[in-house]
């Protein structure tokens, strides 16, 4: 099996779709010559030309809105919002428009639009270039929300996003881009709503997303040395959510920790916690622990930033708290 970085895997999915299908095109700020601020679309301008690899003005509302219009005509645009933080500028088009056209039209319209974006702390950009707020979008009926953590998953899920007939908000994590992993020779689409058990374990289930998946795996290694067997589950798609797999895992382990980089309060962990307490109430041996960032705008100085966002050590502490409750 070939090895790709997470970044290359995103590019591979985009390029394969564009080779096969004239209806797929990409647009966003600085994605053409420069290849995007994260280098994801590097080389694509040469292969596909400026019509299909479109640099846009700094107009987040119009980037998403134009994508909606083209998608309503049956094209499959993939738009890039340079930083997740700037999704806030396109919220209206996402929440009131993309997500609602199908219902408001009584089923006459579809919006097969993919919105790719990236974010995440770990490089001290300060408070406006590193937020995570995937949970906001999970609250919007009509959207789908994806947050892959491995090269294989990002490739297979991006393909599924492009070919999904609904608007999909697709989160990538900045620190994951250089991560390498094996991918199948041929691109295998990964269906939405299927969690992946990243590591099997018996004592506690850690449900992690994005960068917290590798952090949780590291915590699981460390826990093993302490005699604690940790299962790590990555839901991969937050909407739809594989509730069945989550509940089954916690019914087996009887303990649960949720982990994301976004602030804990109102984060996706709250939704996971509700799903688990309802589906595995009688199985729980300890309160569910939530791991997330501390509740403040991200501070600049590296020491403050690193203190605020969660790491493997925070997951390990949470795991220990759950097993401490006999």
């Amino acid at each position: 099996m070939p090895e790709l970085t997470y970044r290359e895997a995103v590019r591979d999915a985009l390029s394969r779709a564009m080779r096969e299908d004239d209806d797929v095109f990409i647009m966003g700020e600085d994605i053409a010559e420069m290849g995007g601020s994260m280098g994801v679309t590097q080389g694509m301008l040469d292969e596909f030309g400026a019509e299909r690899v479109r640099n846009t003005p700094i107009s987040e509302m119009a980037i998403v809105g134009t994508g909606i219009g083209a998608a309503m005509q049956g094209m499959r645009p993939v738009v890039e919002i340079m930083y997740q933080d700037f999704l806030t500028l396109s919220m209206e088009q996402l929440v009131n428009q993309a997500a609602k056209h199908r219902t408001m039209s009584g089923g006459q319209l579809k919006v097969p639009l993919t919105i790719r974006t990236q974010g995440g702390a770990g490089w001290s950009p300060g408070a406006q270039h590193a937020q995570q707020f995937e949970s906001w979008f999970v609250h919007v009926p009509g959207l789908k929300v994806v947050f892959p953590s491995t090269p294989e998953d990002v490739r297979g899920l991006l393909w599924s996003a492009i070919y999904d007939d609904n608007p999909v908000v697709f989160f990538e994590h900045r620190l994951l881009y250089p991560l390498k992993g094996e991918v199948p020779d041929e691109l295998e689409p990964i269906p939405f709503g299927k969690a992946r058990i990243m590591r099997e374990g018996a004592d506690v289930t850690v449900i992690a997303i994005g960068r917290m998946v590798p952090e949780a795996l590291q915590a699981a290694e460390e826990a093993e040395a302490l005699g604690i067997s940790v299962e790590v589950l990555d839901p991969r798609t937050l909407l739809p959510l594989d509730e069945e797999a989550i509940i089954a895992s916690v019914q087996k382990t009887n303990r649960c920790v949720t982990a994301h980089e976004a602030v804990t309060r109102g984060g996706f962990g709250a939704e996971l916690t509700a799903v688990v307490q309802h589906g595995a109430f009688d199985h729980l041996d300890a309160p569910i622990e939530r791991v997330g960032a501390k509740f403040g705008p991200l501070a600049f100085a590296p020491a403050m930033e690193q203190w605020a966002v969660p790491h493997a050590a925070d997951v390990l502490e949470a795991v220990k708290r759950t097993v401490a409750r006999a």
């Binding site: 119009a62 219009g69 083209a70």
Partner: protein
Amino acid sequence: MAKVEKKARSEGALSDERLRELFREMLLIRRFEEKVEERFRAGELPGFLHVAIGQEAVASGVMAGLEPDDTIMSTHRAHGHTLAKGTHPNAIMAELYGKTEGCSGGFGGSMHLYDVANGMLGANAVVGAGLPQVTGTALAYQFRKEDKVAVAFFGDGATNTGVFHEALNLAQLWKVPALFVLEMNGWAESTPMSQHLPITDLSQRAVAFGMHSIDVDGQDVEAVFTATKEAREYAASGKGPVFLNVRTYRLVGHYIGDPQVYRDKDELNELRETKDPIELLRARLELSDDEFEQLDTEVTAIVEESVAFAKAGTDPAPEDALKWVYA
């Protein structure tokens, strides 16, 4: 610098016969909206309604200047646009009654009329929000080399939204086949132009993007038709989008039931007497009372039938509310 064309009335562009057809259509829109108002006041219509009484010549004139496969997106004030685009009055009235036979299946209501098969891609209740989607629709036509234009309707209030500027800038940058039809009625709800616009000539906003702009008298259906036809040819030929700066008058309240405390009554009465596009066209066509009565009887019957159709329509099952959340 992009050009602003000043359009005077352009008599002779349309035959008398065609003008009579447009007169009939405008009268149908008027009677339809008067009926909507009546039924709303009678408590039969749920929700929140805006009529475009006084602006009928814009809807009819623009649609007359388009080709059948062209598409439109509209605003909270969408009944006239939708009727003129060819949606059956029964389907619109049924939508206002929340019936499954409605043009949006009862999921949309007055502010979310859709009739995709007829080229009506949706009315939007968020001011300005449809504009980038029109840019995107036109982008798809450009990609696929289709001979179609996409048309956005919006008001003077919408030109103050950020999304208006983003959408027009991008449309002009990419020279997509779109028309941006400003219905300049001088009001955004209760706020007069003088309180929401630092300029009075809004064509300057389009020209600032390098967009071709045409000034139009929106009370003259023939002038609207002529400008639209010219704009359509320009846009479809790949030269880029066109802005239609249409001066019109909202001869009623912002919404049905609006007491219009903010508006001078004498001024409004004068506008009603001098600027009613239907009266103006009636005079121009020199319709006799008999001729007028005949047309009026015909369109009134169509409107009555739409109410009967809507009332006899099917109520959706409550649990169908979630039928279309995902494709």
